[in-house]
């Protein structure tokens, strides 16, 4: 419907009110740039009412749904730069979307949609970041089946075995 809107020109509360007046079926999405990378929040509307929220931090591969996502969507509108898309869906598509994403369903209280100033907070991103346990370099190399790269060349391995007092050639001649 409307895409690539500068989020600075879009007021969250006015947008929700306008979509309500038009009994809008569909969703809006806001994409912003956090410290770690791109983030995206989505709010789904059924007959003009916000009914579900999603928020994803792509850098951390962390997604929030429902109320936690709603808070983050609101916060995203206070970020410095962002783009907003508003896209219409059929009533059936909205129902299907909700059926497959039950955990994302949440209807904000009327007071949560009252216009007010919302200061931007980096705490949300910090929380998302801290909730992800990063893999070590070795774990990642193993994950991508690249552990071999870090392995010492065969010559060096034999050498270190010999230094340890072992006999590196013994297995080759072992009968057992």
């Amino acid at each position: 419907m409307k895409t690539d809107l500068d989020s600075a020109s879009v007021d969250f509360f006015a947008l929700v009110a306008e979509l309500g007046r038009h009994r809008f079926n569909g969703y809006f999405a806001i994409c912003t740039s956090g410290e770690g990378g791109f983030e995206e929040g989505t709010m789904v509307f059924d007959d003009g009412k916000p009914v579900a929220s999603f928020y994803e931090y792509y850098a951390y591969r962390r997604q929030y749904v429902g109320e936690e996502a709603f808070k983050r969507v609101l916060n995203a509108f206070s970020n410095v730069t962002g783009v907003v898309d508003i896209l219409e869906l059929s009533n059936e598509q909205v129902r299907l979307l909700l059926a497959f994403n039950e955990r994302a369903i949440m209807v904000p209280a009327a007071k949560d949609l009252e216009p007010r100033a919302v200061p931007f907070s980096q705490a949300f991103e910090a929380e998302a970041k801290s909730s992800v346990v990063p893999l070590t370099k070795q774990e990642l190399l193993k994950k991508y089946r690249l552990a071999e790269i870090e392995r010492k060349p065969a010559g060096e391995q034999v050498h270190s075995l010999a230094l340890d007092g072992g006999d590196p050639l013994k297995p080759l001649f072992s009968e057992g």
Binding site: A29, S33, F38, A59, T81, T136, L141, L146, I149
Partner: protein, 269 residues
């Protein structure tokens, strides 16, 4: 750490653009990053360090050059004679499309050092692989910028280049994650940083415009300066040069354009 000669408080930088794997966008990044740095007011020379498979000139739309890096490496001329004025204030040293007879790659380091007298940035487009040519190109610079696509094969090859750079004392300045579609199957920038033990300076979206520009032999930074790829190059140039990008431009579409592009790739194409 001193990386080069200082002119007016600015550190001269010679950066090898390397990846190990072919086809990941080294040449496109060399040329367009060079143009982006030039747009930020830097004096830039892009050098085709791939004497066997010269591509840099083609990317700029130049099919022949009377004097090339091969002439420099064979000792026939000084590197100053092989520098050409390119578009957008970018200067470049092309490689010849003909064979590399008598070219001694070991002389590249001295050539790059000579160029440092007249440039803020020297970007050397490295050959793929880890052969003699790529080794010479890598060692000709003080720093290396690793270009990696977010998949295991590219990561593996790039990691080998980083190890070679570490052994040679060439500092890894950072990583460019190129051709990203934002798909969840891709290796994340955070994982790349962990594996490379270096910062990802730019996540560059896959942009079909780069391929089109390559076919037309006009750098995308010139043909479409607002393209997502061009935007990413400007962000990368800002990160490397320390230059602040104009806030107005950031607000009015630079980052927003990049975000919009990723957003479409991710969900709503």
């Amino acid at each position: 750490m001193v990386l080069g000669k200082s002119v007016g408080g600015f550190q001269l930088r010679s950066i090898a653009i390397a990846s190990g794997k072919g086809g990941v966008g080294k040449t496109s990044i060399t040329v367009n990053l060079g143009l982006a740095l030039a747009a930020l007011g830097k004096r830039v020379v892009a050098v085709d360090g791939d004497v066997s498979m010269a591509n840099l000139g083609l990317t700029l739309g130049i099919d022949r050059a009377p004097i090339s890096i091969q002439n420099v490496l064979s000792g026939e001329v000084g590197v100053g004679e092989a520098v050409y004025e390119g578009p957008g204030g970018l200067r470049y040293v092309p490689a010849s499309l003909s064979d590399k007879s008598h070219a001694d790659g070991r002389k590249l380091k001295a050539a790059v050092a000579e160029l440092e007298q007249s440039a803020d940035f020297i970007l050397v487009d490295n050959p793929s692989g880890l052969g003699i040519d790529s080794d010479s190109a890598l060692k000709s610079c003080k720093e290396v910028l690793l270009v990696c696509t977010p998949e295991p094969a590219s990561l593996a090859d790039c990691l080998k280049v980083k190890k070679a750079a570490d052994r040679a004392g060439v500092k890894t300045v950072g990583v460019v994650c190129n051709m990203s579609t934002g798909d969840k199957s891709e290796i994340s920038p955070a994982d790349l940083e962990t594996v490379f033990e270096a910062r990802v300076l730019a996540v560059v979206p896959f942009d079909a415009g780069v391929r089109r520009a390559s076919a037309r032999q006009v750098p995308v930074f010139i043909s479409d300066p607002r393209a997502p790829f061009s935007t990413a190059m400007l962000v990368l140039a800002g990160a490397l040069s320390g230059e602040r990008l104009p806030p107005q431009r950031l607000q009015q579409g630079l980052l927003a354009g990049l975000m919009g592009f990723f957003k479409r790739l991710l969900h709503r194409s």
